[in-house]
């Protein structure tokens, strides 16, 4: 089985080497690709210097476009599984094999690494937690499924979902909306508890001022997704 780790990176010169070290020591059997989303710092130079596998986008596409590039790379190179793994050191590669195990044991299509099953580790800021609870509730009402961490960017998907995401993946704030479209297409989604660390360097892409815009936009996106036709990539 071919497994790929997709690492979207925008200005992560300080974190990227540690992230790759974590992957190469803790995630045996996985390949990785860094998608450099036109970073303006030395992310590219750091990766080239260390001989990391990197794809650089000529224009900045945002998180959705960058991750989708990774899914296209996975499809093109015939990977069976792909996992999104943030380039800022929030995620730990120790969980990757557990995620694969869970997917195989329960025959699921998507596994989300959730901070809110055991409520261990860094729990995100108060305002973000309100958003997360709200999106969980919205998803519960619309799809009747429990997703404890819909904004988690730590997600493993199989080939069917890779194909689906290659066709359409939201451009910004893609996580909650894409979970809904996966559920709406009757794919099975599971979660395993993970511990995430606080970002070591750099700022989170979502600040307080943008929170309201984020909530409104993602809510409308979720509502519209529910009335879309099935987009199963088969």
């Amino acid at each position: 089985m071919r497994k790929l780790i997709i690492i979207p990176a925008f200005n992560e010169e300080k974190n990227i080497a540690a992230v790759i070290k974590d992957i190469t020591t803790n995630a045996l059997g996985f390949d990785y690709v860094i998608i450099n989303d036109s970073s303006t710092d030395n992310t590219y130079q750091v990766c080239k210097f260390n001989d990391f596998n990197i794809i650089t986008l000529p224009v900045n596409l945002g998180i959705g476009g960058a991750v989708q590039t990774g899914f296209m790379y996975a499809l093109l190179n015939n990977y069976d599984l792909a996992v999104q793994f943030d380039g800022d050191g929030q995620h730990s590669a120790l969980y990757l094999n557990d995620m694969v195990q869970e997917m195989e044991d329960k025959n699921l299509d998507m596994i989300i690494g959730s901070r809110f099953i055991k409520n261990d580790g860094f729990q995100s800021s108060f305002s973000r937690r309100i958003g997360i609870v709200y999106f969980s509730l919205l998803i519960k009402i619309l799809t009747k499924k429990n997703i404890t961490d819909p904004t988690s960017g730590f997600r493993l998907i199989n080939k069917k979902i890779i194909k689906m995401f290659c066709k359409y993946y939201p451009k910004d704030y893609p996580e909650p909306e894409s979970v809904v479209s996966v559920l709406r297409n009757n794919y099975k989604v599971g979660e395993i508890p993970v511990i995430m660390s606080k970002r070591t360097e750099g700022k989170s892409s979502i600040n307080l001022i943008r929170s309201i815009y984020y909530m409104v936009k993602v809510s409308i996106a979720i509502f519209i997704d529910v009335i879309k036709k099935n987009t199963r990539g088969e």
């Binding site: 000529p58 224009v59 359409y168 451009k171 936009k217 409308i220 519209i224 009335i227």
Partner: protein, 115 residues
């Protein structure tokens, strides 16, 4: 506001909102750009439905007749949307030229490798 006018505004508003949502649903319109249109139409809805709101606004911005207040607000909104469109267009054309340059350089590299 006169009932007939309210009904016309309401019906056309419903029509416009549903076509915008339909375009987003078909992935032909970015939600990012649809949001400002939805916001404007919903504000117009609010003005039509809440009685007296348009008079309050005209008094607030110092316009004698309510219909002029609507024209004024309409023009302001259109200018805002046009401006954001110009910004978005500039970004898009910058991206296109960067992509063209990248493709041209890659083409040159590929051709040289085949020689």
């Amino acid at each position: 506001m006169e009932l007939r006018l309210s009904i016309i505004i309401f019906v056309s508003g419903v029509f416009i909102i549903s076509s915008i949502i339909n375009l987003v649903r078909k992935e032909k319109l970015d939600l990012k750009y649809a949001l400002s249109w939805l916001f404007i139409i919903i504000s117009i809805f609010a003005l039509t439905i809440i009685p007296g709101s348009i008079y309050a606004i005209s008094a607030l911005i110092g316009v004698a007749t309510p219909i002029n207040a609507i024209f004024f607000l309409g023009i302001v909104f259109i200018l805002i949307i046009l401006f954001t469109l110009t910004v978005a267009l500039s970004r898009a054309s910058a991206n296109v030229s960067k992509l063209s340059q990248e493709v041209a350089l890659l083409k040159d590299k590929v051709n040289n490798n085949h020689k």
